[in-house]
């Protein structure tokens, strides 16, 4: 039994290790944790004191680096932003879906970043800015504020049913990052981005399931951003 002020937590973890066996398996570990501990702390406890072979990515441990997106009790979240008290006494942890699993909770992020790179994720402005800042009003700045919060954790993209099924869809995160530039008053490559996103792999694959919005650990209104990009394509053509 758990000590005073502590709770027992059983973690049901989806394991995979190509060095050991070809198929994934489930494993259960029970640990003691403080109710306010993060799920990441609980996973560390398993890794550090029970099974060193458990592999996961993590870094900052407070929801800003985007390393530890996982499928927790059937929903995508960052393990460092889920508290033990909210999942105890039992939690299921799986790797995020739609990307190849490399080991345990670690997936291949390359397809995800390839999608990100495909939408020209950088400011394009060929005019000479001079030696001072380009002006931008607070209202213009506010227009894309929400989508600058993205930490590229892939929680949104791997929550999307279209992304799981298909190898082509760029996914919500890439569109969020396109939005960040399309609606930046300083950027000049909006038309090119919108052209890329009007293609088969682009924004019109979105079926507004809102899984992405609910999965985003940064509270970005992902679906709304995608819809705004759709509208931009629509009116850019009309």
């Amino acid at each position: 039994m758990a000590g005073p002020g502590m709770v027992d937590l059983t973690l049901r973890i989806r394991r995979f290790n190509p060095d050991v066996r070809p198929d994934p398996w489930w494993e259960e570990h029970t640990i003691e944790a403080e109710p306010n501990d993060r799920l990441l702390d609980a996973l560390h406890r398993v890794k550090w004191y029970q099974d060193g072979t458990l592999s996961l990515r993590r870094s900052c441990a407070h929801g800003i680096c985007g390393s530890d997106a996982m499928l927790i009790n059937g929903r995508n979240a960052l393990a460092c932003k889920v508290l033990v008290k909210d999942v105890a006494p039992r939690v299921t942890v799986e790797p995020i879906r739609g990307l190849p699993v490399l080991k345990d909770l670690i997936v291949d992020m390359e397809p995800f970043f390839a999608g990100y790179r495909s939408i020209l994720p950088f400011l394009v402005n060929e005019s000479d800015p001079g030696d001072r800042e380009r002006r931008q009003s607070p209202e213009e700045r506010a227009r894309f504020d929400d989508t600058t919060k993205c930490i590229l954790c892939a929680a949104c993209t791997t929550s999307c049913p279209i992304f799981w099924g298909d190898g082509e869809y760029v996914g919500p995160a890439a569109i969020v990052n396109a939005h960040r530039f399309v609606f930046d008053s300083r950027d000049q490559a909006g038309k090119e981005r919108l052209a890329i996103l009007a293609e088969k792999s682009g924004v019109f694959r979105c079926r507004t399931t809102f899984n992405c919005t609910e999965a985003c650990p940064r509270g970005i209104k992902v679906t709304q951003a995608i819809q705004e990009v759709k509208r931009a394509v629509l009116f850019n053509r009309a």
Binding site: I31, D51, T208, T209
Partner: protein
Amino acid sequence: MADRQTRRRDEGYGRLYRGSREGQWSWVLHRVTGVVVILFLFAHVLDTAVVGWGPAAYDRVVSIYKNPVVQFLEWILVAAVLYHAFNGVRIMIVDFWPRAARRHRELSYGTIGVFVAVMIWVSIVMLPRVFR
């Protein structure tokens, strides 16, 4: 000591993604009802085409629709068309008015509300024919 460990055989993925209740499941239903309607449409074009072969042939074909079991299926078809239509309106609202995305839950429940209300009326009209 609470620490313990067990190993189990693979139970397979198979677990549903517990995504947005309002968004994910209305999308699944939209697809399912869409497929139901298009498959019916294929059949319906064929049966209507029989009209070109005259009354005898056509009346024989449409008599199938008067079977109670088929009439129950017809009730399902009407439900599918109506759900697909109402949910389609919701999708368009979200598509053409991005700010509506912030109220997507309310929109979903509104859609379901309208659908259920209309289906109550549809059922009052149609179901007695099935159980007659």
